[in-house]
Symmetry: C2
Subunit: 363 residues, 2 copies
């Protein structure tokens, strides 16, 4: 079991990473003065698979436990579901000292964190992420939100959890597409911040794809550390430090959207976005051919796409200019100065972007 500290002064918390540690969660929570009554927000599939273990761990440590399941869908990230949950908490938990346990992937984490942030102006919550993506990314940093019909994450708060508890033992039951989506983000961390992790991923990609415990634990720990350091420097995304986390995401979102969110899932689109950012960096002579090739090889080894199939270049460019990351008419890109070194650049000429996309598109 590894403990990392995310240091935000009064809002500091630990990130605990291990394998088969779910049974010890109650004991860890006992040390936090967090309340006495656990309100677990999850979905039916996760509850079926891991609910018993969580329930036992919490009860053993003297907590009362109530489970609340929401549909396993982005649609659960709504104000409607959030208020239903709050009403359920009020109804069943009068006079109790409630804290919330977000037990699931990114949707559950965002929703449960938002509920915790607004109920009675904030009650404690902990993240117990059950997907690889949530363990390496969304469970850390206190970004909570629900969606509106006008767009994703439009209503939310920066509200830090009291603990992030990542048991890689919970990941064994994930589907390979879920894993791959997370791997895109893990490759991202390696490319923007951590050449040693990059080398590790090169060597261990087969073991990772086979969901072996040791490499999973290693990458979750490593990525959690990277994410934590970035959050410490820029908790509310005001200083631009978190901008480099958008590496691969700017064009990635455009590809996702140009493919009507069907042709590529988020992870696949991010993989393509990273490749394009790498191509552009190469064309601008910011990195050499060798680095570009290494990046492409790793993305391929992870089972992620390296070619954009059947989406016209112009459609991607058009979607790209609708991206929220453009303020006014300036574009802003996260590019590379080498593996492990991200650069934020503005006003990349449209022609350079177009050329790069053109070379990756297969009609």
């Amino acid at each position: 079991m590894n403990t990392l500290k995310l240091d935000l002064k009064a809002r500091s918390y630990n990130i605990i990473v291990g394998s088969g540690i779910i049974g010890l969660l109650g004991k860890t929570l006992r040390k936090l003065d967090i309340g006495s009554d656990a309100y677990v927000i999850t979905n039916a599939a996760i509850k079926n698979r891991h609910g018993k273990a969580l329930n036992k761990a919490l009860k053993k440590a003297g907590f009362t436990v109530r489970f609340k399941t929401v549909p396993d869908s982005e649609k659960s990230k709504s104000l409607k579901v959030a208020s239903e949950i709050i009403e359920d908490i009020i109804c069943h938990n009068k006079k109790k000292r409630i804290f919330i346990v977000a037990f699931g992937g990114g949707v559950i984490g965002d929703l449960a964190g938002f509920v915790a942030s607004v109920y009675k102006r904030g009650i404690p919550y902990v993240q117990v992420p059950t997907t690889l993506l949530a363990q390496v990314d969304s469970s850390i940093g206190g970004k909570t939100a629900v969606d509106l019909s006008q767009g994703k994450n439009l209503v939310g708060a920066f509200y830090q959890p009291r603990l992030v508890y990542s048991d890689v033992g919970l990941l064994k039951t994930l589907h390979s597409r879920q894993i791959k989506s997370a791997l895109a983000e893990i490759v991202k961390y390696a490319i923007i911040k951590d050449p040693a992790l990059f080398n590790y991923l090169q060597k261990k990609h087969k073991d990772i794809l086979a969901l072996k415990t040791a490499p999973l634990e290693f990458i979750v720990k490593r990525c959690s550390h990277i994410k934590a350091k970035i959050v410490e420097k820029d908790e509310r995304e005001e200083k631009g430090v978190r901008t480099i986390l958008n590496f691969g995401h700017t064009i990635g979102h455009a590809i996702e959207s140009a493919g009507s969110f069907k042709k590529y899932n988020h992870g696949e689109a991010v993989a393509l976005g990273m490749l394009l950012a790498s191509d552009i960096s190469k064309n601008l002579s910011l990195i050499n051919n060798n680095s570009g090739q290494k990046i492409e090889n790793l993305i391929m080894a992870m089972g992620l796409p390296t070619r954009i199939r059947k989406i016209p270049v112009q459609k991607i460019i058009k979607a790209h200019y609708h991206d929220k990351k453009f303020i006014g008419s300036k574009n802003r890109f996260v590019l590379l100065g080498g593996i492990g070194r991200a650069l934020v650049l503005e006003d990349i000429p449209l022609k350079v972007i177009q050329e790069a996309i053109k070379k990756r598109v297969i009609c």
Copy 2:
């Protein structure tokens, strides 16, 4: 014009108090790097009375201005109205650098602050309170919220404004019942924290009730200062420092509720609650008869009630034990050790409370 600073490090802001200063608001905002587009949340009555002046002040300083009116009712403090406002902001303000102006009393301030706290995980907002109660109390300290059918303020956030701008010139059009409700809170500040303010209120109560400018400005400044100091010490109400602000409110709420929120409004009930807390303090020999009499005289001079009419003692006691401020079975009271000195005491015997109430009730 007086400027007080509320010091919360990165979340610090100024409280500006003056008379006839609304025309200078735009100029003050210009210094804040707060955005370029003012989204003013208000109600129709306030917009009719003061909207033109606000609009002019903001436009003169180069801001775009959009007004959004909500019904003048506690019912506007709902998730439904909050999401309608957010949808309106999204609809009309793409690509703009929005900040919110809460232009109204406590309802508007709580609602607008909540919208600002959750839209895109927080955008800037300023409080321009138009009631005496909002100027001395609710506009300061970042407590934002909406209500649920299960209770008041159940969904909200601690989210500080970037400025509180109190123009006592806006108060001239208020009704005397609105003023009196605020006076109960002002008397409260004096009793718990400020003997000099207490003396001032004794001397100037006629001028205050006549809404003369100089005393209004003095009391808003003084109360803002007291509130600011308390918020600085305990921003999120975690350390119990803000507990003394509940002086008069524990039994006050019970009286309000036992009278079905019709017999007494909030200010009147708080006045009665303060008197009872003073009576209990006297009975426990914490203060002398003279102090108790002074408190009663001031409350009477402010036109607030000193006797509870036609509510059975037992009904008040019963409502009292439903108050959220009781955790478990312990009661907790803010009592007095003198004028200007609040004490927080637990486990006051029921008999002492009953005796005090009995003496104030007229059947």
